[in-house]
Symmetry: C2
Subunit: 456 residues, 2 copies
């Protein structure tokens, strides 16, 4: 409108990519990673569905009703496509065990997969098309996340904000939107994108709402675009667009450089084994390894120094977690727990460990130190150096740049399957979990996604 | 969690206000303004319902279905509470004739009233409770808007962002939430708040989506809070909260100073008679008046200088509107139209006037000049000085600080009623419009809001 020269048209490049990506051209490693991402997400949804935040959104969704277009996975009931995206999105992120992309600090799966699955079920898409849309959604979310990280991340929960673009991309792919409609969908994804870190101060449930709303808002943007509802064409690079509004520093070239072919961003996915914030994992990994190798007992520890990057200290620097949930965002707590129990699984975070005097005492011996060298490597690496000094003055020192589950330090397929069965087995029963695992690992054979969860 | 001293607890003060406000204690002028605001909003919804953006959201809403809890006013059909809030919110803001609050640059009605009405219908609330919740919603939205204006407004469409808090407040009042639940509702309103000005570059439909989503998100936050879904307690003043994330400068004292009693912010409401962006109104008013008093003919005009505040130039500085919608955001177009036709009503913005050679020629004679003195008075005043020089060198000069419809320069009740009948008469028929006008002007007599639109 202001008659300026259009220098970028990033949304058009993204739209061209979303239109063009085809299952047949995807490398086998990409398809495999999409399957694993789906399986890992499904386990998180199963676990999350047992917890209060999901029960509360479920009550609201049931109260509003809707056409039975898609499955609320935690209960198996059918609801509208938008409600399914919302409910499954909320369930995704409660167990804090969902996947994460390191460079963008983004839980892409929690926002992208519920959106993709809801639209795939509504439209009766094939498993191949679903997997392709998941790859597209990750690509878009992660690239935008990389462009605005880390400055965006101080205020904004990237999973909520950038996740909305990914959800819109996946939904738009499944709806066969035209290039112009995809541009509008991205525009209306960006103008709905939200999610502030302020919830962390209270350990509030908003964190789970963010990916649910990202999925919902992305699907809404795509459905509206399909009806011809227009959106901003330069939502990313525009003078009053997403990047300028939410990131003091950003690099637009990250969004489009190398876009359109392998390697796809989904292959950079990291999977979690500890049930705590990913920023605690590097130190937890090193602590577990040092304690195991050197048989360090908690009562022998004089002090523990954790060196790491700034964001980890900002998000997980809490020495006084008041709730079990807050404990999962407390680096001192997680390191103390790792030292005492040799693990930080979902079951290890409970009222007993929260109130454990030995853990509290250990926490008081943990020093968190920002480290300029480690900071310089972040977020390409998520590094930590841990130094444990015992009461005899012996010093044990370890470092990791890549927490367990990163592509450079991967979980095996068998480890991921075991994680899925542990999470899904209790709420759904071993048999159903096994059946679903098999279905997901051959998702490309499903001709109609409606059938996969039909008798669920 | 970080163990900092809690200096503010603004959400608690707002929650106390929302809990405490009672119809019986409202001044008659406040109740009257709430009725007028509802009537004016209803006219905008009637007009907006005829336009493509509403038809598109309607298609999406119908596709998703839902329990028949509340009325989509443009068609009279029933849908879920959340869908009604969304659909009516979108319809509110299409005609660009909805009310505006000057100090916060906020269309509170477009976000607050659809949220309030949808919850009032769902819960079978009385007209008195609905009016009270509207007063509460305006109060919360406007005060937060005042705290972050003008710096927030550069990127963020306040109607979408601050409107979400107002919608949550109104919905929370109607749901009889406890103080703690209201705090959570405000927290989850803030973490969903969104809406970027980037749509303006394309004249995209996102502008209408913003109040619809503000209403939807606010109601969702309140419904969730009622289920016990927690939210950040310091969403406004917190270190990673709404104000710091979205406004380079803000003044938190504006939110709570004088909160809790009259005068209520809704009485500062401005109503629009021109169907263009409010920032064009001061210059349009002066132009119409100068032309009328001095019988200035378009062909006699040599040049027109419009002096005004910076935000008006940023939002409405477009000399090349490509669409009818964009024309309504073009100060040069609106001034030229006002000069030629003596008015800028909804009917005056069409393809004929957009392509009118005389109007285009007049536009080329309009100079827009930022003015430091006028800037200093904004947004308390929305001032403009217009100077028209004719071909004989005669200079006509006029100024306004308060466009027509501001509290300082008000429309009469009769003018507002005539505006409502003009907007609602065509889509709904004169009889229904008359019946509704009567119902709204005695809304405090309605025992159950479900009955008001039952046979609608």
């Amino acid at each position: 409108m202001a008659g300026k020269a259009v220098i970028f048209l990033i949304s058009r490049e993204l739209a061209g990519f979303i239109r063009g990506i085809e299952f047949e051209a995807l490398p086998g490693t990409t398809v495999h990673m999409a399957r694993l991402a789906f399986l890992d997400w499904l386990g998180s949804v199963a676990a999350g569905g047992q917890h209060p935040p999901f029960q509360k959104i479920l009550a609201v969704i049931r109260g509003q009703g809707g056409v039975g277009q898609a499955t609320l996975l935690a209960t198996g009931e059918k609801t509208s496509c938008l409600n399914a995206a919302l409910g499954n999105g909320v369930a995704s992120h409660i167990a804090e065990l969902d996947d994460v992309h390191r460079g963008s600090i983004l839980h892409a799966g929690a926002a992208v997969i519920p959106a993709a699955l809801a639209v795939a079920e509504m439209t009766g898409a094939s498993g191949r098309k679903l997997l392709t849309s998941i790859v597209a959604g990750y690509e878009v979310a992660v690239r935008i996340g990389e462009a605005v990280t880390p400055s965006h991340y101080y205020f904004w929960h990237t999973t909520g904000t950038c996740g909305t673009f990914g959800a819109a991309a996946a939904a738009g792919k499944l709806l066969d939107l035209t290039e112009e409609q995809l541009i509008w969908a991205l525009g209306n994804a960006g103008t709905q994108a939200a999610g502030l870190w302020e919830f962390l101060a209270d350990g509030a449930m908003s964190k789970h709402l963010h990916p649910g709303k990202a999925a919902f808002n992305g699907v809404l943007a795509a459905l509206l675009a399909g009806e011809g509802f227009t959106g901003a064409k330069r939502i990313l690079e525009g003078e009053r667009g997403f990047c300028r509004a939410t990131a003091p520093q950003f690099d637009l070239t990250r969004i489009t450089a190398g876009l359109g072919g392998p390697p796809y961003k989904i292959e950079e996915n990291s999977f979690k084994i500890h049930a705590s914030c990913r920023h605690t994992h590097p130190a937890v990994d090193v602590t577990i390894e040092l304690a195991r190798q050197n048989k360090i007992k908690p009562q022998e520890v004089a002090n523990i120094t954790v060196r790491t990057y700034r964001t980890a200290l900002q998000i997980t620097g809490d020495y006084r977690p008041a709730t079990v949930y807050a404990a999962r965002f407390s680096l001192p707590f997680c390191v103390a727990l790792a030292l005492k129990r040799g693990r930080c699984s979902l079951d290890d975070f409970n009222q007993d460990t929260l109130n454990d005097a030995e853990i509290r005492e250990l926490m008081s011996r943990v020093s968190l130190v920002p480290d300029a060298e480690l900071e310089a490597g972040h977020p390409a690496c998520w590094p930590s150096v841990v130094e444990i000094t015992d009461r005899h003055g012996r010093v044990y020192r370890g470092r990791t740049d890549f927490p367990k589950g990163d592509p450079e330090n991967p979980l095996t397929d068998a480890e991921l399957a075991a994680k899925f069965r542990a999470l899904a087995g209790e709420p759904w029963g071993e048999k159903k979990a096994e059946r679903l695992e098999k279905a997901v690992m051959e998702l490309e054979k499903a001709e109609n996604m409606r059938a996969v969860f039909e008798k669920f």
